[in-house]
Amino acid sequence: MYGRLPIVKMLAATVALTAVTSAVMLPIRWNGQGASTAAPKIDTLLSVMIVLSALVFSLVVVMLAYALWKFKAKPGDESDGEPIHGNTRLEVAWTLIPTIIVLFAAGYSWAVLDEIEEPADNPLTVDVFAQQFAWSFGYPGKDLAWSEGELHVPVNRQVEFKMHSLDVIHSFWVPEWRIKKDGVPGITTTATVTPDKVGTYQLICTELCGFGHAAMRAKVVVESPQDFRKWVAGLEQQIPDDYLEVIEQDTETDPVPVGAGGA
């Protein structure tokens, strides 16, 4: 009965539409510039998903378009269609094939997740303090040096951000790094990133935190280790005592400061 459908032509149309969609979409840098070791891995994952998604979307569109073209009732035709109730083999196929696709997506994602969170030797630890509506950063190893509204990190070294919030939940996002993590009052959360491009970026708060949420930003500077050391050495303020108290009160805190500014 299904022999009457031009299966080969429909598949060819699906593949063609997938190819065209992918060709249009793949060259675009959807996630913007990348500036961390995680970025290319996540962007590649996205590209794979774009092709798979284009395939699923094309299949649905081709199936729908063909049905509408071929099986549209003629005006005045009041008869019924063919009483087909199903097809077990087809139903098994469209249960199993999507299962395989999503399990592949899950496995691939898992692998990428492990890679981007892989701890490196000798990471730099930076304390991030979030509060309504400002960011500040502590460099515990360097006499508890403290910077308000400006984050500096050295290039090509893993940074472990220890996130603290003083009031409500905030979220730490540098789009070019592809890394995001909430700062939660009462606990210390951790985000790991290895910036690999020198430059100036923006840190954006992405968790609704009140009327100043949209403006809660900070400047991020990725620079050479020498410049970074110089900048930290020039910091004059120290982490205020009540901020240190927050660190101590937080659960899951690693109280041992890791040296800033290189070994």
Binding site: L5, I42, V56, V60, A73, G186
Partner: protein
């Protein structure tokens, strides 16, 4: 006047509300005076002299309005008033403004009320898009903006999408299964009347000192526990909307399980019935979680408990776990009834049986089971224990499988059929397949932890939820309204205006929500009144399409209102459907059936020679002994 006070109704309802509010106020004043506390505590989260009356006044209204009269008499042993059906059915428009136990009246009450909230929420969306048309703040300040998007979401979710499905099913489902009414008609009426109260609480919060609640519809603690008084309106509104939802779901479950016409086995139920069975299973088990968590926030705010106060040992993240344990299943509460509608519409208008009917029903059940195991995918970056991410990713992606089965089965239904596209309902159903596929695809991407880390809390999320909730749920709602409009009103709507509404809605939906994916991935966070200038042009484009989308809904209202009044009379079965609701007149008689129909086959046997779904009263000699209907026999 005395009679009006004694009779259940609006006057007694208003008096009840006032009396209960005064009682609550007096209680607070008295207790605080006795306890030597300052009488009026007006620190940001306090206001007990407002909060307690706010809890009691709606209950007073419901009592005065007559929602509890019968039960109270019965409970205290007083003689109950024999039901003379004076509260059943509608003879004039005034009957729609009364406590009415007829499922058809309640269905209309639900649908009209929820659409009013849909337009209020839509108006807020227009304000939001006007503000976002340019970078910087022009129209509203940041605090008002936060209130606007919070109220927009809450109205759309709790006062439109969830209850409008309950309204459609209220009208259609008892007819479909051959029942004279819902199982518990008084509970059904109570469920409805709690709904506008929830809406009033949400909208009334704009009058509270400090403005309407502004912590998002998610109301994350501790932003919500420390927010101004408006947040309490949200905590309480959710209780009324939630109680309404739970009671309706129980009603549906009992109705579907016990009141199907003879012969309607589970495998002969239309898929709309299956869909509402699945939805109700989700509502009864999941909704208590959001009710509970909003009570905990309320207690933190007013009674100074420490559920989510981190400084006093509370656990901030547990709010999100409890909230999403409801709110992820809620996504399916907002989608499964729509799946049911699409199955009905596509089968009728392609003149073919549903492809793989049993697998379609099982897919619904599969979604119900899986949807309880995916909640933490909303929390991949929330700082929860990191080991939970991968299991939740796998279950989240697996839920795409039953959803995909439904998409492919609808497509399969079209093949070798005779597809009619003259009905606006069918147009929305077909467009739904494509838009929902896009929403599903972005959902799969969001389920993948590394991608989610980047796009979480950005406009990509806004794009995704609107593709599944507007391009998904709302398209199915429009399909359902157009499909059963002739049955509900006895009139035909204007297909030409329907087509204008359809094409405008499709263009508006894609134009508004597709570019949101792009700006989100490129770095624009959600829930911001102001944004980086680099996103200015895209946002202007989004706003223009949003205004088109908003304006074209006016065509829908015009079509519905004018057709309801002046449309040509509808015959019983304008779409040549098989299921039972099409076998009674349009609109149906007051007790639905003179005799309960007998079901002898599946609901979608189009093209099967000689097949019948149901045998109605007076059809042939094989009609069995009539069973007296419960409501109609007193």
């Amino acid at each position: 006047m005395v009679a009006a006070v004694k009779q259940p109704g609006w006057i007694r309802g208003a008096l009840g509300a006032a009396a209960f509010a005064a009682l609550g106020f007096g209680l607070v004043v008295a207790l605080r005076a006795i306890s030597d506390l300052p009488i009026f505590q007006t620190e940001q989260t306090g206001y007990p002299h407002i909060v307690v009356p706010l809890i009691l006044a709606p209950l007073g209204f419901l009592a005065g309005f007559g929602c509890f009269d019968y039960w109270l008499r019965w409970a205290v042993g007083a003689p109950t008033i024999p039901d003379d059906h004076s509260q059943h059915g509608a003879k004039t428009w005034k009957d729609y403004f009364r406590f009415n136990t007829d499922h058809k009246v309640i269905g209309i009450q639900y649908i009209v009320t929820t659409f009013i909230f849909f337009f209020l929420g839509g108006l807020m969306a227009m304000l939001i898009r006007a503000e976002l048309a340019q970078p910087g703040t022009q129209i509203v300040d940041a605090a008002t903006f936060n209130s606007l998007f919070s109220t927009h979401a809450v109205l759309m979710i709790f006062l439109f999408v969830i209850p409008v499905f309950a309204g459609i099913a209220n009208y259609v489902l008892p007819l479909m299964i051959g029942a004279p009414d819902m199982a518990f008609p008084r509970l059904n009426a109570l469920s409805f009347w709690m709904l506008p109260l929830a809406g009033l609480l949400f909208i009334g919060s704009f009058l509270a000192p400090g403005g309407a609640f502004d912590a998002g519809w998610t109301g994350y603690a501790p932003l919500s526990t420390g927010a101004p008084l408006g947040q309490t309106f949200f905590n309480l509104g959710v209780q009324f909307a939630g109680a309404s939802s739970i009671a309706t779901a129980l009603n549906f479950l009992v109705t579907i399980i016990t009141m199907r016409a003879p012969g309607m086995t589970f495998w002969r139920m239309p898929l709309l019935v299956w869909a509402n069975l699945s939805t109700s299973l989700l509502v009864v088990a999941a909704t208590p979680f959001i009710a509970g968590v909003q009570f905990m926030v309320l207690f933190d705010r007013v009674l100074h408990t420490n559920f989510f106060q981190f400084a006093a040992g509370g656990d901030v993240i547990s709010y999100q776990h409890i909230f999403w344990f409801y709110s992820h299943p809620a996504v399916y509460i907002m989608m499964l009834p729509g799946f049911g509608i699409i199955s009905e519409v596509i089968s009728i208008h392609s003149r073919k049986p549903i492809f793989g009917y049993r697998l379609m029903a099982l897919a619904l059940i599969g979604i119900v089971v899986l949807s309880y195991s995916v909640w933490a995918h909303h929390m991949f970056v929330a700082g929860m224990f990191s080991w939970l991410r991968v299991p939740m990713m796998i279950t989240t992606l697996l839920i795409a499988v039953p959803t995909g089965i439904k998409i492919f089965s609808w497509l399969g239904t079209l093949y070798f059929g005779k597809i009619h596209t003259y009905s606006t309902a069918m147009l929305f159903a077909l467009a739904f397949i494509v838009t929902f596929t896009v929403g599903g695809i972005s959902g799969v991407m969001l389920g993948m932890v590394p991608l989610d880390i980047h796009v979480s809390d950005t406009y990509f999320i806004v794009a995704h939820i609107h593709f599944v909730l507007f391009g998904g749920s709302v398209f199915t709602i429009f399909a359902g309204i157009y499909h059963w409009f002739p049955k509900m009103t006895g009139r035909m709507y204007d297909e030409r205006l329907g087509r204008v509404h359809f094409w405008g809605t499709v263009v508006g939906t894609w134009g508004t929500f597709i570019p949101m994916h792009w700006v989100g991935m490129d770095g624009m966070p959600r829930r911001v009144a102001d944004y980086a200038t680099q996103f200015g042009e895209w946002n202007l484009l989004i706003s223009v399409f949003a205004f088109i989308l908003g304006a074209v809904q006016l065509v829908f209202v015009y079509n519905m209102v004018v057709s309801w009044r002046y449309g040509p009379r509808a015959e019983a079965n304008p779409w040549r459907g098989n299921s039972i609701e099409w076998r009674v007149s349009s609109p149906p008689p007051i007790f639905n059936f003179d005799e309960i129909p007998r079901v002898v086959g599946g609901p979608y046997e189009y093209g099967v020679p000689g097949a019948k779904h149901a045998i109605m009263a007076g059809e042939g000699a094989e009609v069995p002994e009539t069973e007296p209907s419960v409501v109609g026999s007193s």
